[in-house]
């Protein structure tokens, strides 16, 4: 692909959402709702069209020169050595992310036209949504560390706006701030990683090359010895950045609170795009990660751990959006596990399929909430299937895909993932991780169909479901499209298809040039499903067990769910109920002490020590004045006495000095 073509693609893809956001921000208002809706959705649609065209052109081009890096403008030149420039790369990895972000984004924008009908902040909403898509694309296209960090922060800021969209709700405001602070931590980790990279990149002939552009870094990646401490530190910091963004174990507490935002926001940000940025980052920096085996192991373990924990918590949640949020955290955990093991293509594959069915679940939940007039507690719902027929059916497809039932999208990507895990997971814990992965399949099946059964099946718990009405058409169309996609996406992306001259290889082969051409570490080749048959069979079986169990518990209610729950030891249910107490832990461990130190500074240090010595000087001079004042007693005899005394002293000193 030619430089000129790529530059135009990059500028168009970035330009459309930015212009849409600016127009909506400047001229949008509740009155001109029509204009706002059109501008909002069209800009994302245009971006999707441009990226589709780019995909087609890329497919026609020979697989060798599909990755093209373009320089937009010089950011900062330091005396000829370090010159930082805005560079964008369009290669297989970023085109996939482009398509996912703009495609799913477009469907969600169409959906939110209906969802935000009676919300007067619609202009602000679409402005923020467009700005979010712009920053996500900015991040994905980044080919320069500075460009990447800026995109990273822009995504954090736009998610801050969107989570805190209903700014009158204190809980939303707090959730937005919490999300932003966690992202800033990830951002700082990324910045320090960038420093480490810049100061350690050596050209083959051993001279320091100070450049922040990723192609040159990866070209000279040989300068980082395999398993050396610098590479380990760099990858650890990159991993922290990824965990912050993808809500993985240490920095995951912001994701459930982020459900305070409107449902389309949750769908776009917390299902399809933002949380996957962490997976993309690790995939993009795979040459470095391949050289840091310890970190890869760590990443895989954290991925599986988070996934398992989220699965347990999801089982006990009562808010419909929080259940899906925890399921997102669990699935992202699987992706992190995949890229942690070096199965970058498998991770990306699961990312794509997950984007479809998770967005579908969120939009379905949106329909339910819309129908129940903003009621999110599933205990109040029940038997909605009769009223919301289309939503119920697409929600079912989504749940099937999520829990990995064969022939649905989830099954292809998840089993591919776990299949790879069986054969060459990290070090000696590979089998253990695989077993936990398979247990996660059970958990996924359980909570997916628990949700479906409670919300749509059974008889209504309260009178309110009776009043529910099916969502308007504009909200149903995206849901149906997504249902179709999550049904056939696995199959469609799996089998190589040829349209005339355009040969669409299967997903992994399409991505393989990105992940093989540069890495000189252990070749991360993708096993065909064949070699992982055993893994796949075990995985599918566990999923079916999960689904069956869920249907028994919540559909036919043989052993009623509550009785089963009572038999499970109390501390597990409590743990699950209170989200493993992480919120309280972080609050006590970090937030409160920092605030205490700050208060201590203000109350004690500032007035006493800092101000103290300045005021002290003043007070000291006053005291000196007071002590000397009585000498002016006004009595002549005192004055004479002083004279005599000092005269005497004077004489003694003179004589003393002279005599000695």
């Amino acid at each position: 692909m030619s430089q000129g073509f790529v530059t135009t693609v990059v500028l168009l893809v970035l330009g459309f959402p930015l212009i849409g956001s600016l127009i909506n921000a400047a001229f949008g208002s509740a009155k001109r709702r029509g204009l706002v809706n059109i501008v909002g959705t069209v800009s994302i649609g245009a971006a999707f069209v441009v990226s589709a065209v780019a995909l087609i052109v890329m497919l026609t081009a020979a697989s060798s020169h599909r990755a093209v890096t373009v320089t937009l403008w010089n950011w900062y030149v330091v005396g000829g050595s370090l010159s930082v420039a805005f560079q964008a790369t369009l290669d297989q990895l970023s085109i996939i992310m482009l398509l996912v972000v703009t495609g799913v984004g477009f469907l969600i924008h169409v959906y939110s036209v209906g969802y935000m009908e009676h919300d007067e902040g619609v202009a602000r909403f679409f402005a923020y949504m467009n700005f979010f898509v712009f920053s996500m694309l900015f991040l994905v296209l980044a080919a320069d560390l500075v460009f990447l960090i800026i995109g990273w922060a822009l995504v954090a800021v736009s998610s801050y706006f969107l989570i805190g969209f209903w700014y009158e709700r204190p809980s939303a405001v707090a959730a937005a701030r919490k999300a932003f602070i966690t992202q800033v931590i990830g951002d700082v980790a990324l910045v320090i990683a960038a420093f480490l990279i810049v100061t350690n990149v050596m050209s083959p002939i051993g001279t320091h090359i100070y450049s922040l552009s990723m192609p040159t870094i990866f070209h000279n990646v040989a300068s980082f010895q395999y398993g050396s401490s610098t590479v380990t530190w760099i990858c650890l910091l990159l991993a922290i950045g990824a965990f912050a963004k993808s809500a993985q174990f240490p920095l995951h507490t912001w994701l459930p609170d982020a459900m305070e935002g409107p449902t389309p926001v949750s769908a776009l940000i917390h299902a399809a795009t933002m949380v996957t940025a962490g997976v993309y980052l690790i995939a993009r920096f795979h040459p470095l990660f391949d050289r840091a085996p310890i970190i890869q192991g760590l990443v895989a373990c954290v991925g599986i751990g988070t996934s398992f924990m989220a699965g347990i918590i999801a089982l006990s949640q009562v808010d419909i959006k929080r259940v899906i949020a925890y399921s997102t955290m669990s699935q992202i955990g699987l992706m992190i596990y995949a890229v942690g093991m070096g199965a970058y293509a498998a991770g990306m594959y699961h990312l794509v399929t997950h984007a479809f069915f998770k967005a579908l679940l969120f939009l379905g939940a949106g329909n339910v909430i819309h129908a129940m007039h903003d009621e999110q507690d599933i205990r109040v719902m029940g038997g909605l299937g009769k009223r919301l027929k289309i939503t119920e059916k697409s929600f079912l497809i989504g749940s099937l895909a999520l829990s990995g039932i064969p022939l649905f999208a989830g099954w292809f990507s998840k089993e591919n993932l776990l299949g790879y895990g069986v054969l060459n997971g990290p070090g000696h814990v590979a089998l253990l991780l695989y077993i936990i992965g398979v247990c996660i399949n059970v958990l996924t099946g359980l909570y997916a169909f628990r949700l479906w059964a409670i919300v749509f099946k059974g008889e209504p718990q309260t009178a309110r479901p009776a009043a529910a009405h099916e969502a308007p058409r504009i909200m149903l169309v995206p849901v149906v499209i997504l249902a179709a996609l999550s049904a056939i996406a696995g199959f469609f992306l799996w089998w190589p298809v040829a349209f005339g001259s355009v040969r669409v290889q299967d997903f992994t082969q399409f991505l393989s040039p990105v992940f093989t051409s540069i890495t000189s570490g252990p070749l991360a080749h993708e096993p065909g499903v064949a070699s992982g048959w055993i893994g796949m069979l075990v995985g599918t079986a566990m999923s079916l067990i999960g689904v069956g169990g869920a249907l028994r518990l919540w559909l036919r209610r043989e052993p009623d769910a509550e009785t089963v729950a009572s038999r499970i030891p109390r501390f597990i249910t409590q743990l699950s109920m209170h989200k493993f107490y992480f919120d309280e832990l972080y609050d006590a461990a970090i937030v409160r002490p920092l605030r205490a130190v700050a208060k201590w500074c203000r109350k004690l240090i500032e007035p006493e020590i800092m101000d103290g010595w300045v005021e002290g000087v003043g007070i000291g001079v006053d005291d000196l004045g007071n002590t000397l004042q009585p000498f002016q007693s006004g009595l002549i005899r005192d004055y004479i006495a002083y004279m005599v005394f000092f005269a005497l002293l004077f004489v003694i000193i003179i004589v003393g000095v002279v005599v000695r």
Binding site: N74, W75, Y76, V78, G79, G80, Y167, R602, V614
Partner: protein
């Protein structure tokens, strides 16, 4: 004698003439006073712009640091003091910031209105002349003259305009600073003797710092410092108070709390940055060995400023004091850039000086506009202003994000360079600075959200109007500058390439220092 036309003296003369014109006009014609003030500020602005534009063509003279538009007129030959002015890459940007910030001060005063225009504008323009003098002078005595002279108009300005606590704050500031500047005068005189009886910067820079015998306390035999180290400490102390670094900062919050926004724009904008200027121009180049000896201490102070400023900003209730402490934290960042003694760090510091000037001016203007509208400065009594003032929300959001160093805006550009420079000195610095960035995110968001989000606080007054057109058009150019500098920071980068190399070369004579040998990123390329 000077060869070409003495431009720099013109830069000094224009504000002085403006001030004189203002002082002559009778008090009644307030509009005439205002126009004179505006004309003076604009004229200086354009003059400086002209100087900057053909900066590269001008001839350069001078040994360690080459000065452009140099002027040298005998002033007091008996003691070797001469009226020498000069402009190099570093001071060019300080001069530009000086002109911009004072123009902003005048504009804000016009927009917000001020009760005694004659006194205010006269003193304001006079201060501009003084600060310009500090930046331009390359003769140490002249520098000290302007350095102390700056406090004169400032004293009257600070003590006659502002809220009820201004008297105490001004006395504390003036008394505090003047007391320590005398030490610097002592050091200057010492240097004068060392340089063989001349105050000129080149002569002093070229003085032989031969083996200094360590001064011992007579009778006790305690080993003190070498005279050069004493001189360096005197300079460093004077500049540390000006910057301010934390232990010497207590004058800043009281003063900033009592000053009106028009006063704050130029005070926080340029006056508090002359300390940084002093460190780079005088402390770093005249005392290279001592700078390396005390580098550890100075870096510790800079980090302390960052963290301490952030903690205090986190806890403060008065919104102006929050911004004051955030300014301390930012200045801590800038001094970290300077003390890291690396090329990147210095570039970042100069860039961040300009960014901070813009951000802090905008922040203080917004704080005053909010204070006027809600009638209080207490953060806990205000919330949910977004509904009433969407424009204020938008502009305040951009400024807050720039202040917390969000990548994409100008705060990040400077901080990235500084942290990279500090990282080169030692990785610990960058990590602690990173913690500073996280804290900055926290307190800046708390401030922005505290005021804007959450439901409307019952205490706030009803009928709050959004930003009027005039106020909006003061803040919009500032926000535009923030975004522009965030995406194109290279504008600042090109101009000071040459002089940054010279400063690094001048400060590298004895590189042995506690921190790892600071490797310049320039493969030892010397100008």
């Amino acid at each position: 004698m000077t060869t070409g036309f003495s431009w720099l003296t013109l830069v000094l003369l224009v504000p002085i003439l403006g001030a004189v014109a203002i002082l002559c006009t009778p008090r009644r014609e307030a509009w005439l006073i205002k126009t004179f003030a505006l004309i003076a500020a604009l004229a200086t602005g354009f003059l400086v712009l002209g100087l900057l534009l053909n900066y590269s063509q001008a001839a350069a003279t001078g040994s360690p640091i080459s000065f452009k538009y140099a002027e040298n007129v005998q002033w007091l030959p008996q003691i070797g003091a001469s009226y020498r002015l000069g402009l190099d890459g570093l001071s060019a940007w300080f001069l530009a910031l000086n002109a911009v910030v004072f123009l902003l001060g005048v504009v804000v005063a016009l927009v917000r209105g001020v009760d005694r225009p004659k006194l205010f504008f006269g003193l304001l323009i006079l201060t501009e002349a003084a600060t310009a003098g500090v930046i331009l002078s390359t003769d140490l005595l002249l520098f000290y003259l302007f350095w102390e002279g700056m406090l004169l108009p400032l004293y009257f300005l600070l003590s006659s305009f502002g809220n009820e606590k201004r008297q105490r704050a001004t006395v504390k500031f003036i008394g505090y600073t003047v007391a320590w500047y005398l030490l610097m005068l002592l050091a200057i005189i010492y240097l004068h003797t060392q340089a063989g009886g001349s105050f000129s910067y080149d002569a002093i820079a070229a003085r032989q710092t031969t083996g200094q015998s360590i001064i011992t306390v007579p009778g006790f035999g305690w080993k003190l410092l070498t005279p050069d180290q004493f001189a360096f400490l005197a300079f460093a102390l004077a500049f540390a108070i000006k910057v301010p670094l934390v232990p010497f900062h207590t004058w800043l919050p009281d003063l900033y709390e009592s000053l009106p926004a028009s006063g704050l724009t130029f005070f926080a904008g340029i006056v508090s940055k002359l300390g940084i200027y002093g460190f780079i121009r005088y402390a770093m180049t005249l005392f290279p060995k001592e700078m390396h000896d005390f580098q550890g201490l100075l870096l510790a102070l800079a980090l302390l400023s960052i963290l301490y400023g952030a903690f205090m900003a986190l806890q403060e209730v008065d919104i102006k004091r929050i911004v004051a402490y955030s300014s301390i934290s930012h200045l801590g960042f800038i001094s970290l850039g300077v003390f890291a003694l690396t090329v990147i760090g210095l570039h970042g510091a100069i860039l961040q000086v300009i960014n901070h000037g813009i951000i802090i001016a905008a922040l203080f203007i917004i704080m005053e506009l909010i204070e006027v509208r809600t009638g209080t400065r207490d953060r806990s009594l205000m919330s949910g202003l977004e509904k009433a003032m969407p424009w204020m929300y938008f502009l305040f959001m951009i400024t807050a994000l720039a202040a917390l160093g969000m990548p994409g805006l100008n705060g990040f550009a400077g901080e990235f360079m500084i942290m990279l420079g500090a990282f080169e000195a030692s990785w610990v610095l960058a990590v602690i600075a990173g913690i500073g960035v996280v804290l900055a995110g926290w307190y800046m968001l708390r401030l922005h959200q505290g005021l804007m989000h959450d439901p409307l606080h019952k205490g706030t007054k009803e009928g709050m109007t959004d930003l009027r057109l005039r106020e909006r058009w003061v803040l919009i150019p500032l926000c535009a500058a923030m975004v522009a500098l965030g995406l194109f920071p290279n504008i600042v980068g090109q101009l000071d390439q040459g002089s940054v190399q010279q400063y690094m070369a001048a400060s590298h004579t004895q590189p042995a220092s506690a921190i790892t040998q600071p490797t310049p990123l320039t493969h030892e390329v010397h100008a």
